[in-house]
């Protein structure tokens, strides 16, 4: 079996008196979609923000490509090749697709923005992910549908030669057809060799695209299993009670 890209061991995180993450372990592999499930407030977003450098962990170890690393800021995470697509879409409505995809990391020629190169790279990235739903990369993001926006946000994450893309509820606000488009893209990312972590409350989504499922319950990792080794009902049990009878771990 392939060595994991990201491995977390014994992660603890508290906000004041609230102990949100308790000794959390998680293994994420390249070429796979790892679904991270758990009830509201279980700590999924917090865990992701710790990996992404927005929150600092109180204790625990993070291994990336086998090496111990410390992520103190989103910049550190980006340098490692970790990209997070946040629950609340991080796009600027007043900018177009290219401008959003390169936000904060614009290509320049001397002092001046290199618009043609950015446009070409954005177009190539979308093509590489088989994205066909956006007609022009110069469209302002405000004119896009929810699904298209999510697709842009995800494609943005891929532009940076990232190795690990973490998606926090990318389909939460989408209709059926748009959800299917986004899930297709999520699968495509893993098939292109990236490691993908997908947070979702929707069991159909989880079973449709994930290779493994990791379940958080009140800040503890209660199971990490292959998707083929578990049933819908068992996942729901894990989410709601933290245990599941007859689950081979």
């Amino acid at each position: 079996m392939q060595a994991p890209l990201l491995e977390l061991r014994g992660i603890n995180k508290s906000f004041g008196p609230v102990h949100v993450l308790r000794d959390v372990a998680l293994t994420v592999r390249a070429g796979e979609v790892t679904a991270l499930v758990g009830d509201n407030g279980a700590g999924k977003s917090t865990l992701v923000k710790c990996v992404g450098g927005t929150h600092q962990i109180d204790s625990g170890e993070v291994f990336y490509e086998g090496n111990p690393v410390q992520v103190h800021s989103p910049r550190d995470a980006a340098q490692l090749g970790i990209e997070i697509v946040y629950q609340d879409l991080a796009l600027c409505d007043n900018l177009d697709i290219v401008q959003n995809m390169f936000l904060g990391r614009e290509r320049k020629r001397g002092w001046v923005l290199d618009e043609p190169e950015m446009e070409a790279l954005a177009t190539a990235t979308l093509a590489g992910l088989s994205v066909k739903t956006v007609s022009s990369v110069r469209q302002p993001v405000s004119s896009l549908s929810g699904g298209q926006r999510q697709i842009v946000a995800i494609s943005k994450a891929v532009l940076w030669n990232s190795k690990l893309v973490i998606l926090d509820e990318p389909t939460a606000a989408l209709g059926v057809a748009q959800t299917a488009q986004v899930l297709e893209l999520v699968r495509q990312l893993a098939d292109n060799g990236l490691a993908v972590v997908l947070i979702s409350h929707n069991m159909n989504d989880v079973f449709a695209v994930s290779d493994r499922i990791a379940a958080l319950y009140l800040g503890q990792m209660v199971a990490q299993v292959k998707t083929t080794d578990i049933t819908h009902a068992q996942v729901v049990e894990l989410i709601t009670s933290g245990r599941s009878e007859g689950l081979a771990q």
Binding site: P74, A78, A90, C92, N94, L103, W111, L113
Partner: protein, 322 residues
């Protein structure tokens, strides 16, 4: 969309020029157009930097007071370095005034960023504070006499290639800010901060640094406007000529296409708007309209400009079912 907006501004400007041109045959004379140009310069400088700060999602109401403070500071430094009234060092006068202006801008930015004070409140407070400081250090009186110095004479009355020096200054500042906004990553990030501050932060943009820097830019350019104002009126006065400039600058920015929420606006649009305002103001004066009506017209225009902007962004009226 931007183009439509600029075209309507050009249309309005043509209309204003035509109407007053018909009402008064001196209005379109070259000398009067130069007067319009000069009248526009000082408000124009403030409007250009106001545009930059509004694009970042902020606003600076203190610009008029900052210009007044710079007028006083520059002429007082000029007097001190000279014989107590005039004949001092113009470079020192200009340099000190601009440094003081930039520092005042940093104070604005720090209050907004670290004090977490709403930009309107913070700069409204500083509007009063900077005016007070200017009045305190000048005793409320005009200071110095600047036109003993070639540089100040050039700023006030000089021209290059037939165009007044102060219009050159506006043109250069406007071009630089335009290039900053449209062709550099700094400008792109400014639009992003105004468009969605959370997204900008997640993209690794240091928002605090940007906000403080843009207020510093406003302070420095407002100081430049104050220096020009002092040179043109021969002496630095804490309020004369600078009081009320914030209204003109802000009106021009919104009329020119800025959105209150930030993330939108262009230097071209703002310059057109400030020219329109200047043409209107001088037109009303030329045809003999009571100057008090000017204030009414200014206020009305600001409301109209913002209403147009809100319609454009498609915001629903408060309390009305959509």
């Amino acid at each position: 969309m931007n183009r439509v907006q600029n075209l309507s501004l050009i249309g309005a400007l043509a209309g204003v020029l035509a109407v007053f041109g018909i009402l008064n045959d001196q209005y379109l004379s070259l000398s009067n157009l130069a007067v319009i140009g000069q009248a526009v310069t000082i408000a124009g400088l403030l409007a250009v930097v106001q545009t930059a700060v509004i694009i970042c999602g902020g606003i600076d109401i203190s610009v008029g007071s900052q210009a007044g403070l710079a007028a006083v500071v520059s002429s007082m430094v000029f007097a001190w370095t000279g014989d107590g009234l005039a004949n001092g060092n113009a470079f020192a006068a200009i340099g000190v005034a601009i440094v003081v202006g930039a520092a005042g801008g940093v104070v604005n930015g720090v209050i907004i960023v670290y004090g977490r004070v709403n930009a309107i409140i913070a700069t409204l407070a500083m509007l009063a504070a900077y005016k007070g400081i200017a009045q305190l250090i000048s005793g409320g009186r005009a200071q110095g006499y600047l036109l003993t110095n070639d540089l100040f004479i050039f700023i006030a009355r000089g021209s290059v290639l037939g165009v007044p020096a102060m219009i050159w200054i506006l043109g250069i500042v406007a071009l630089l800010v335009h290039l900053l906004l449209k062709t550099t990553d700094i400008g792109r990030n400014m639009y992003a901060i105004g468009g969605n501050a959370v997204a900008a932060r997640l993209a690794g943009i240091n928002i605090n640094k940007y906000i403080i820097s843009v207020y510093m830019l406003v302070g420095a350019v407002a100081a430049l406007a104050g220096i020009i104002l002092a040179a043109r009126s021969t002496a630095g006065h804490p309020t004369a000529g600078s009081e009320g400039l914030e209204l003109k600058a802000i009106t021009a920015a919104f009329l020119g296409g800025c959105a209150i929420a930030g993330g939108k606006g262009s230097i071209g649009g703002t310059l057109l708007a400030v020219t329109l305002l200047g043409a209107l103001e001088i037109g009303l004066t030329v045809v003999g309209v009571n100057p008090f009506w000017q204030n009414v017209a200014q206020g009305a225009l600001l409301v109209v400009a913002v209403v147009i902007q809100q319609r454009r962004t498609g915001d629903r009226a408060v309390g009305l079912p959509g």
